[in-house]
């Protein structure tokens, strides 16, 4: 069954991500990676990417570049990144550090890290793809904290202005940013209301529900599509959930073992 298979993929992604986090003494962005695990897994299911050399491929642009634990492990599940690639995570001279660097061979569309830039880049990609008549989709993953940046709203406005209904904007609404809860730092109030006002077809999903994500992500409308995915930062790791330290932290071995146990237990328990 489709859902069971993807659920298994997500389990493998999470365990691999924990291995990667354990391997680095610099620290990894665990929180924003684990909020987006199901999202990235489902996105690579829904998107049509027969090959990275295919011009008509759907584009997946991770604007919240710190979500690499979800991106790299999803690309590994897809067979674009290898075990060896992941083993170089945050090592000297690596191509796979804490923010993704464009590498089409490995499936990485965009060099992220500086927040807000990915959505703006996506405007150009979507316009060009539409002009070329490629009939593909441009998926952009934004963090909710990332929406503090002014350029995000400039780009969101441009997407509707230019009629780019080949775009799906996905907001990983994990309610946290580096300094704390988004509602304390810079209150976004209703993202849905804002996106509607900007001319989007807006849907809200549970960002950890595989069926909900599969149902929603592939949809097309006359308007550009916006999906607000309600998620939990560092989802599934009890000692990091609702804890701003999860944004970027070192995972000591004892904590790693606890996290592995919790992730496995949650998988078997359901």
């Amino acid at each position: 069954m489709e859902e069971a298979r993807i659920k298994q993929n997500v389990l493998e992604m999470k365990l691999k991500a924990l291995d990667m986090a354990l391997s680095t003494s610099f620290g990894a962005h665990i929180g924003g990676g684990f909020s987006a695990m199901e999202l990235m897994a489902c996105l690579y299911e829904v998107a049509s990417i027969p090959s990275m050399a295919e011009e008509k491929r759907d584009r997946i642009i991770l604007s919240k570049g710190h979500g690499v634990l979800a991106l790299y492990t999803a690309l590994w599940q897809k067979g674009l990144m290898t075990e060896e690639d992941l083993a170089t995570f945050e090592t000297d001279g690596t191509r796979f550090h804490g923010h993704p660097h464009r590498n089409l061979e490995k499936g990485i569309e965009f060099s992220g890290g500086s927040l807000g830039l990915g959505i703006s880049y996506a405007v150009g990609v979507a316009k060009a793809c539409k002009d070329k008549g490629l009939n593909n989709r441009i998926y952009v993953i934004l963090g909710d904290g990332e929406m503090d940046e002014g350029i995000v709203w400039e780009a969101l406005m441009a997407i509707t202005n230019f009629g780019l209904n080949n775009v799906t904007v996905i907001i990983d609404r994990n309610q946290y940013q580096l300094d704390g809860p988004t509602s304390d730092i810079m209150n976004l109030l209703s993202i849905e209301d804002k996106m509607k006002a900007f001319g989007y077809e807006v849907e809200t999903v549970n960002g950890h529900s595989i069926p909900e994500l599969l149902d929603t992500l592939g949809k097309t409308f006359d308007k550009p599509h916006a999906v607000v995915a309600n998620t939990i930062k560092a989802n599934g790791i009890s000692f990091l959930m609702n804890n701003k330290i999860s944004h970027q932290c070192v995972l000591p071995r004892k904590k790693y073992e606890l996290a592995v146990e919790e992730i496995k237990k949650a998988y078997n328990g359901e």
Partner: protein, 306 residues
């Protein structure tokens, strides 16, 4: 040790609050890494978290300043100088609003975050803004002195901080800090190394190694990039070397070259820094080696150029 950010925001800022009540600290979702948690808890009414929005932070600070506050803005060096460059130019340059702008994690401090998070252009950018004072302190103590100067200055000031908590102290406590006045850390006859920020410590170690080779080296802590202490540059040396964790274009090396170009006769200038390229990602030690900024590479470069 508290590091540069911790010393400035965790200790010095709190002491300054006893002396004046017009300070407003603004941060773009960077208060914890900057070391502001203690300050925020003690003085919540003197702190504004602007979210991840550097441009709006500088604009807001400008408005606050014109209505009587003394704003202190802090974010990563790359984003506060690059994304909000036009705002800094407008308010600090054109309007001459005396705010304090502090960039943390400068140079390649942010290691595995990668090039998006490195700041190797910030000195160049800030230096081009008329009226801007640009300071890169070499250790935590100098960072505090620079900060105290900046808060009391009538000019806009950019302070470039680097590294994590384990920064070795180099500054002699009896030395007074004066903006635009270099500090001679070591006397020497043959070579003058002009270093700034994180590289002052390396320069001192290089000078020791060169002494073993019979080369007498002077080390200058050029903490202020603008206004530059032109008089401290010694054209009677056999070689002048600039050392910075920054692109060789536009920073300290270029500033020194500007001065030397005014002389008919001057020694060769060896500009050491990041050689105008983006670098592979790695640990701090790895990055310095890749850029030729580790002690051994700097020493060899000087010997080869003498």
């Amino acid at each position: 040790m508290a590091g540069q950010g911790g010393s400035v925001f965790g200790i010095s800022l709190i002491e300054l609050m006893n002396l004046r009540n017009d300070l407003m600290v603004l941060s773009s979702d960077m208060s914890t890494p900057a070391g502001l948690d203690r300050f925020k808890a003690a003085y919540p009414e003197h702190f504004m978290n602007m979210g991840i929005a550097e441009q709006n932070m500088i604009g807001t600070a400008a408005g606050l300043a014109e209505e009587g506050y003394k704003p202190i803005c802090v974010a990563q060096a790359c984003f506060i100088t690059m994304r909000s460059f036009e705002q800094v130019r407008q308010y600090c340059g054109y309007m001459q609003i005396p705010m304090v702008i502090i960039g943390i994690g400068s140079g390649v401090s942010l290691q595995y975050m990668g090039n998006t998070h490195y700041a190797i252009e910030d000195l160049a950018l800030m230096r081009t803004i008329p009226g801007m004072e640009v300071i890169a302190p070499c250790d935590s103590y100098e960072a505090v002195l620079a900060f105290e100067y900046a808060v009391n200055s009538k000019h806009p000031v950019y302070i470039r901080l680097y590294g994590g908590p384990a920064i070795p102290g180099m500054f002699d406590e009896e030395v007074t800090f004066e903006c635009g006045k270099a500090i001679k850390k070591k006397e020497g006859a043959d070579v003058q190394i002009i270093a700034t920020g994180s590289m002052v410590g390396n320069a001192l170690k290089v000078a020791e190694d060169l002494a073993a080779e019979g080369i007498s080296t002077e080390v200058l802590d050029m903490h202020t990039i603008k206004p530059l202490d032109a008089e401290a540059i010694d054209i009677n040396k056999k070689l002048i070397v600039t050392l910075e964790e920054h692109n060789i274009i536009g920073g300290l090396g270029s500033a020194v070259a500007d001065v030397l170009s005014q002389y008919t006769n001057h020694p060769n200038l060896l500009k050491l820094g990041i050689n105008d390229h983006f670098i592979p990602v790695g640990s701090y030690k790895y990055l310095l080696q890749r850029c030729g900024l580790d002690i051994e590479s700097v020493k060899n470069a000087i010997i080869n150029n003498l």
